[in-house]
Symmetry: C2
Subunit: 313 residues, 2 copies
């Protein structure tokens, strides 16, 4: 089981189908679990995916249309029922605070868990230690934002370089902590001399939006991009009108942003209600724009964040 | 397809399982569709059961615990999305109005359907033409009520009696409309002479409650009783403490009230999480109290209202 993966909980747009629940995506990132857009039924989908409420450390809501947020009360209440001990921040577009407040206390429950409302506005960003989380305003019929998670670049120790400099045992720890080591013979060695760059990994989550600069900013160099692809080319004009993307547009974003693995989701039911596989044109039209890896999301699928690109010293 | 049946949409208590969604029950009664306790995911369960939003003519919520009402926003929004033309009254315990208001506008949507909030208090009753709907306060940790639907008694024309009195053709209609017919030979015939009693049918819906008089009043002579049976005998003390019924108590109610068909639901997960069939003791313990027909509810099951008892003239 990868420590960094996207657990897909639901993939329908607007209306659930037999095979597709409303939205829901849990990003497992080492010891963090970030739940994006819990649509109605997310609590039950978690059960199917083997995800417990305790595995959720943060929630990010892109906007307050029902298919992206009506599962929030169930998730919040489940945190309390399961006595989840850690506080759980919930991010959402600040303009939707009224909806958040209704969903938070949508029905009577015994509150034991700590939910921390953390509204975001365009450009909001927070250094959360393991990564920086950024929100950007998107273009939709209600205030909506996408999220980007960026792990800082760092360096990895290369054993061969340690050996070449004769650094062994506890000295390795000193070098890692202080960045420099006195070798005792008049020479010293720096961390840079025994390590190689380790590019941070990136994840982006882009839901309901028309194509805009913010989409490209969010998707920039994402190792994994989860993005709505509601419409096919034949409905491109409609997509623009109602603030949605086509599969081709989503794929073009992936190409221009250097995305490594592209997850398309939020398929419209208009192209074949209740099909386990979405209309074949989703893949064809995306493939025409993007040569990288394309995943058509299915409920309860797990998608790894691709392994790091190894950069030599 | 029976015109009077209970479509079971969900049967879990508190926490959904792989085989059991949160609560949800649609009573199809001729041209009416009364949705009881839409828990989270009801909208999607409707899809599985082949029930459309347009088939809902009324909603009855027993109380505002999440497993009985978190599907309300999805259902309400679906009424608008599907442009359901008829207004839909929603009943709920008056003390929970604040929760109803939050659920009604839990997220942003384009409202086209007409939802009519219709709060109820203990003893509330309304003559709705085809039947009388009554609510009674139950005993639970929050304000809760059960519902009873009573069709008025009437009479059915008996063809053999019509023939015996020589009433044929359009005269039958006159007799039905006016209750009396001049036979033109000095005699007349009354509706009573050519008809037999037709007892009205009854349905009762009893969710989370400790055993109390109101449960018996609601279940009185029900043709079909849908009732929670959360606990087994071994947890009877706990059941009383938290305001719930055991299967044996629910069955005792059925016996004492002359219920014809008993539907048990809302099974606790403690006796075997995620089993398609609930623990065998539910049936054994209920059977010890009630000799009539017992149905252990399963998701997407349909239960007919039993055929009328035929009363001869």
């Amino acid at each position: 089981m990868s420590a960094r993966e996207l657990v897909v909980l639901g993939t329908a747009s607007q209306v659930p189908t037999r095979h597709r629940n409303h939205n829901g995506y849990l990003l497992r990132w080492d010891d963090q679990g970030i739940l994006f857009d819990p649509g109605e039924g997310t609590q039950r989908q978690m059960q199917g995916a083997g995800v417990s409420a305790g595995g959720i450390t943060r929630v990010c809501v892109t906007h307050f249309h029902g298919d992206h947020c009506l599962g929030l009360p169930g998730v919040i209440q489940r945190l309390s029922l399961d006595r989840v001990p850690h506080p759980v921040p919930v991010h959402f577009p600040a303009g939707g605070a009224e909806y958040f407040n209704r969903l938070r206390y949508a029905s009577s429950f015994y509150e034991t868990a700590t939910v921390l409302p953390a509204p975001v506005t365009d450009g909001w960003s927070a250094d959360l230690g393991a990564f920086t989380l950024t929100a950007r305003r998107l273009v939709h019929s209600v205030e909506a934002c996408g999220y980007q998670l960026v792990e800082p670049d760092s360096r990895r120790i290369v054993p061969e370089l340690l050996a070449a400099h004769g650094v062994t045992g506890p000295a390795v720890g000193v070098l890692q902590r202080t960045g420099r080591l006195d070798l005792g013979d008049g020479r010293d060695v720096t961390l840079g001399q025994v390590s190689a760059p380790r590019p941070g990994q990136r994840f982006a989550f882009v839901m309901d939006t028309g194509l805009c600069d913010a989409v490209f900013a969010l998707a920039d160099r994402a190792d994994l991009l989860c993005i709505e692809a509601t419409f096919l080319n034949e409905d491109a004009a409609l997509a623009a009108e109602v603030g949605h993307l086509t599969a081709a547009q989503a794929a073009r974003v992936a190409r221009e942003c250097g995305v490594r693995r592209l997850v398309l989701t939020h398929f419209s039911q208009r192209y074949g209600q209740d099909e386990y596989e979405p209309d074949g044109r989703y893949l064809t039209e995306a493939r025409a724009e993007f040569g990288g890896e394309i995943v058509l999301a299915r409920d309860l699928m797990r998608v790894d964040v691709p392994p790091r690109v190894r950069v030599d010293a």
